[in-house]
Symmetry: C2
Subunit: 369 residues, 2 copies
């Protein structure tokens, strides 16, 4: 069944929820009515049953292995997405601290994080990319942080603008906090540089409905007992993500994605190389178009995950999206707040999809340019 | 494939996540790799794509139809489960109000709600079932509420103790707030009696990871702009559950469950009759056992969803659970906080499962009594 179905699938360039590895979907499909050996669907299984506890432990183990997460970091699986992390981070890490929180505003997502943090405490905008319409990121030496800052917050990849940090910003001893939602697991990460890193699953790691939080042990001491129970990281760490019923199916699916990354892809170094190769094809098509396609990001800050560009007119952009759909290249419309074209090419986007899009871009330019 | 798999399934008496209708699982399985007509899995579909917007609208329409939800009530789909609602309710409905929140403590879940509400404002325990170990509920006339109370909170079914309100408690003009997580959709409800009603899906309505909130329009005026964005009901109502990426797959699956309730079961009046019939079989087995099985709840407050009882000894209880498992009757162990046996027989538990359990109970009593 799945082979016939698979051939009807489009190439899905949506920014998230986004394409998942076909092998993962096929395994989930086979197991959906009855998880082998358990007599029930994973959708029906108690979060305290040995079957689910095994899945939870495997997901954690695979994350720890793929990202080489040190022992003094905890991994928890939460709900509520980035929006809830925007609040939980300052509630846990800023309340009761003397220093301010330092925010790097590099696009739409980090801007939203600032708006929520301001409700919780003193926030300082360390860097703001607004002046150049968020087409670049801070360079080494550009950041001036207060030494007593509670933490420094950045978004490693801005999906809407398509700018991405290739390496971590330099923040000295200040705990670094990262929204890695849209490029989590796309390359190996030096976790020891981070105080807290979180990622919603629905771009690179699984379906919508689960958020991974990786937090350094010493930072948990900041969480005050007066916090609402669900919003206190310590509760989730203490109960090993079973403080309440976790999103069991989403965690199961993430486990399958992690197995795919390890066994099929061969780890994050290999994944990174593939991602670089995929992105290069699209940026080459932009750069070779003689200005027909104009990339939004300055070249050195281009995202490997979200390739954003404009065409000579909005009419042509509409035509491009429409003609793409006719070729089963889906989800190319840019975010409603900035327009243009956005091709999201997360880990699970096959090279064949990128090749088809690059070929289409050249052809469309040939015809209309 | 699904028929062969289905025959290996157990009867799952887990309290939640819990049994789902087999027809729902089979449909989800067929569609998992490629949702017909969309070229991708529902797991990969953007929450702003027409395909998902249709699913969201259908889920809302079906809920409105099945429960006859009046037009002045909003329906939103959130994350974070009951634990987050324990905090969101007082944050939105108690902050800034002069009256206190009145809580009916009828078991473990309402007790946890009190603990969280106390962080947010003035709470009054209107009624407490602790004196009789939560084996009964308040009767008409027993409740004395302050007339200016911000709201009155109750849990319609306590899964751990197995006590259930057959009708709503009388609270006069005070807005009634209900945790209906474990008996949502088990009978028709007079929604107009409620100010706010919420339910996590993972017992009667779908998988873990989505919480339905039904809230009366006028109560939204209480939510203060200073609330963290995700925790403000108004944001979710304004954005029609798309304030952030919703748990798309869980909403899709809930839609399938709602279709099953409407088309296969024939609506909530019929569902209620079936539930009464199923519960009666187990309570009969208890009552006819000559004291071998002792039901926890006083008969008039017995739950139709969670049948809780003890055996003459803990050793026999262990044996009962073990022997049940051997007969593919799974998940009968009571909650670790109270012990004993709990058979959760939500909407999707087939009558055949209840019959098998009742027969096993009689046989076990015969052998060991």
């Amino acid at each position: 069944m799945s082979i016939a179905t698979a051939t009807e699938r489009v190439f899905n360039f949506s920014p998230g929820p986004a394409v998942l590895p076909l092998a993962v979907l096929e395994q989930a499909q086979r197991e959906l009515v009855c998880l082998p050996g358990y007599g029930m669907s994973i959708l029906e299984m108690s979060h305290r049953a040995p079957g689910f506890l095994d899945i939870l432990a495997s997901a954690k183990r695979l994350l720890r292995e793929l990202l080489a997460i040190p022992e003094n970091y905890h991994i928890v699986f939460l709900q509520g997405g980035s929006r809830l992390q925007f609040s939980m981070i300052p509630m846990n890490l800023l309340r009761g601290q003397s220093g301010s929180a330092e925010y790097l505003v590099t696009g739409s997502w980090s801007k939203m994080a600032v708006d929520e943090a301001k409700r919780e405490g003193k926030v300082n905008i360390t860097w703001d990319g607004k002046a150049t319409n968020f087409d670049r990121l801070p360079k080494a030496g550009e950041l001036k942080l207060a030494a007593d800052a509670a933490y420094a917050y950045f978004c490693s990849n801005e999906t809407i603008q398509g700018v991405q940090f290739a390496t971590e910003p330099h923040v000295g001893e200040v705990p670094l906090v990262c929204d890695a939602s849209s490029d989590f697991l796309h390359r190996p990460l030096p976790i020891e540089k981070y105080g807290l890193l979180y990622a919603c699953a629905q771009k690179n790691a699984g379906p919508a409905g689960v958020t991974v939080v990786i937090v350094r042990d010493d930072l948990l001491a900041r969480s005050q007992d007066s916090l609402p129970g669900y919003l206190n990281y310590t509760n989730h760490v203490k109960e090993d993500s079973l403080y309440n019923t976790p999103p069991t199916f989403a965690i199961y699916l993430m486990k399958l994605v992690l197995e795919w990354l390890k066994d099929e892809v061969g780890g994050l170094t290999r994944m990174h190389a593939i991602n670089q190769q995929k992105a290069r094809q699209l940026y080459d098509a932009i750069d070779e178009s003689g200005g027909f396609y104009r990339g939004h990001a300055q070249p050195e800050f281009r995202s490997l995950m979200n390739v954003t560009f404009r065409l000579p007119s909005e009419a042509l952009e509409k035509e491009f999206v429409k003609e793409g759909e006719d070729r089963r290249l889906d989800g190319l419309k840019g975010h409603r707040s900035v327009g243009g074209i956005r091709a999201s090419i997360y880990n699970a986007m096959p090279s064949a999809g990128v090749e088809a899009l690059a070929a289409f871009m050249r052809e469309f330019k040939q015809k209309k340019g």
